[in-house]
């Protein structure tokens, strides 16, 4: 080793001992709490689901992959329920964790966006919540990213929304201490991997190493000549390596779409629903990136506004999708036995029906009057044996705002969050 090299290495060594690492988040160290698991998947079983049709099984067990019991489906609607393949799991999801049957969406209008916002921020909302802007309080994605080390980059937090209408806004808040710098990656895969986008929008300019370097230099030259402050809303920011992986994954999905490989990949006899495709793409994303925090929402049950029987059918399809998701998590290296899955509707639906009658003579259900039935939901916390209490039912009063502190607790950053969260950790779910 020559003298100069030695001095350089010595100096580096000394510096590494003397100077603690300051993280880009401004924190000196990573999250201080211990983790219960390294991955959380939160399935917002959304669209408005009443406890009557779910955990109370008023129409029979419409969710046989998730809930114990084999009560038969009401005869008048049974013909409207599409048959699903057998559950890929050896027992019901309920038996892999704890079922909470008394969870309240306690405050705010019983609308989808309020329900989603409450579930994703852990804060109560009111009628002033804007549908055009990001929510004012930080989302669970921002809390996770700010209060963890920089290795927990955007690729580790995903918000997979059923539609690209309104819901993409929930990947970050407008809170001055959080915001875009801590946003999740957001994707609405159903429109994004739709036929029109997949066949027309392609990442096809492939620059070789030398050419890529030249292009980068030229871009830097052009930007150096433009002195204006760069204040674009460029969305979530990924680093170059992660972007490259995302482009590769997107291209793979697009290729599968145009070559017909995404035509009913689960082989559902009556074809896959939008919810099932959303979960399918979530599984593909999980297999590719093994994110630490994934939130996916479903939405098809909202057909209940105009068709009660189809609502029950959508519940049955969503039930199969969630079981499929857990099965995929358990066969994904890095996620298996190290993931907690939380399942919860964002709101319920009204007790009283509206006046729209379906093919089976059943009246449809809205969710807008804020009655107790529209505020009652269930929650399931599923996880590895030894981490999560298995086959347990909890009837204590809880709240939809409990999910955010529960996720923070699982991922070890609950004590680092310095803003007030009104909810409590769903402690009884854990061993």
């Amino acid at each position: 080793m020559d003298r100069r090299s030695f001095i350089k290495k010595s100096a580096l060594g000394a510096a590494s001992i003397a100077v603690p690492t300051i993280l880009p988040s401004g924190r000196l160290f990573a999250a201080t709490g211990s983790r219960r698991a390294n991955h959380v998947v939160f399935c917002l079983f959304s669209g408005g689901v009443r406890n009557l049709e779910s955990v109370l099984k008023n129409e029979g067990n419409l969710m046989p992959s998730m809930l114990k019991g084999n009560s038969s489906i009401s005869i008048d609607i049974a013909g409207s329920i599409n048959s699903m393949p057998s559950s890929p799991l050896s027992k019901t999801l309920q038996e892999y964790g704890t079922l909470f049957t008394n969870i309240k969406f306690s405050d705010g209008p019983t609308g989808h966006f309020n329900g989603h916002t409450s579930a994703l921020t852990g804060q109560h909302t009111n009628s002033n919540l804007s549908l055009r802007t990001n929510p004012p309080m930080p989302t669970v994605f921002e809390l996770y990213r700010k209060h963890n080390s920089p290795v927990h980059a955007a690729r580790n937090a995903w918000w997979i929304s059923h539609s690209n209408n309104l819901y993409p806004l929930l990947n970050h808040s407008s809170h001055p201490d959080y915001g875009l710098n801590y946003a999740a990656n957001q994707i609405a895969p159903n429109p994004f991997f739709g036929w029109d986008v997949s066949t027309n929008l392609r990442h096809e300019l492939e620059f070789t190493d030398d050419k890529a370097s030249t292009i980068k230099d030229l871009q830097a030259y052009m930007d150096s000549n433009f002195k204006k402050t760069y204040s674009l809303n460029s969305g979530v920011v990924n680093n170059a390596d992660d972007r490259e992986e995302m482009v590769a994954w997107m291209t793979e999905m697009q290729n599968k779409r145009v070559t017909g490989q995404l035509n009913n990949p689960w082989s559902i006899p009556s074809l896959m629903s939008g919810d099932q495709y959303n979960v399918f793409f979530t599984e593909e994303l999980i297999k590719k990136f093994q994110p630490e925090l994934t939130v996916v929402n479903l939405f098809n049950v909202d057909v209940a506004h105009e068709n009660f029987s189809e609502y029950c059918n959508a519940l049955n399809r969503a039930d199969y999708a969630v079981a499929h998701l857990w099965d995929t998590i358990q066969s994904t290296p890095g996620m298996k036995d190290d993931t907690v899955l939380i399942i919860m509707p964002e709101i319920g639906r009204n007790l009283n029906a509206n006046n729209i009658i379906d093919q089976n003579g059943r009246a449809a259900l809205d969710h807008t009057n804020g009655d107790p039935m529209s505020r009652d939901v269930f929650c399931m916390v599923i996880g590895p044996d030894g981490v999560v209490n298995h086959n347990a039912v909890n009837t204590d009063l809880g709240a939809t705002v409990d999910v955010v502190p529960t996720i923070a607790d699982i991922l070890g950053f609950r004590q680092d969050v310095d803003i007030s969260l009104p909810g409590n950790v769903l402690q009884s779910a854990f061993v």
Binding site: N171, N185, Q186, L201, H203, E204, K211, I215, L218, M222
Partner: protein
């Protein structure tokens, strides 16, 4: 040393050390032609203008709808803008200057490109820079140059 001699020596020293060196400077060649762009294009404007700049016609509604759908369905907007720009540039309908046409009149290609995308003439410095790049980087195509212009900061403003 007497006080008078000391002050004379001090003044001489100050003059000697502070004497300005004569520099025959050509002036700083700092391009400042930003085309007076002050407003950021919004997403739809960006896509519409990019299409018009490349294809010379208004973007068809179905094409705009597809681009917009992709844009609002993915959180990393820069990545999607990049994909949209790439998609346009690889379109078989796009009429791009050939390598030989560029080589035949690099200066005209550079001026045309600045006019097409940045709505201004290049400064002398910019012309000289790009001309040297086109000579040195033999494999630079019109597609590459257009890509650089369409992904630069100035192009995001109008």
């Amino acid at each position: 040393m007497s006080t008078v001699r000391f002050y004379i020596a001090l003044v001489a020293l100050v003059f000697a050390s502070c004497h300005n060196e004569v520099v025959y400077d050509v002036g700083r060649l700092e391009p400042s032609n930003q085309g007076n762009k002050t407003e950021l294009k919004d997403d739809l404007q960006f896509m519409s203008i990019a299409y018009r700049d490349l294809f010379g016609e208004e973007v068809p509604p179905d094409v705009l709808s597809t681009m917009r759908k992709a844009y609002i369905s993915f959180g990393d907007k820069e990545l999607i803008i990049d994909e949209i720009v790439q998609t346009m540039l690889v379109s078989p309908d796009l009429d791009l200057p050939s390598d030989s046409a560029i080589a035949a009149d690099r200066s005209a290609f550079i001026s045309d490109t600045y006019g097409k995308f940045l709505l201004r003439d290049p400064s002398d410095f910019e012309s000289a820079f790009w001309e040297s790049q086109l000579i040195e980087q033999m494999d630079l195509t019109a597609k590459d140059v257009y890509y650089v212009f369409m992904t630069c900061k100035e192009y995001k403003y109008y």
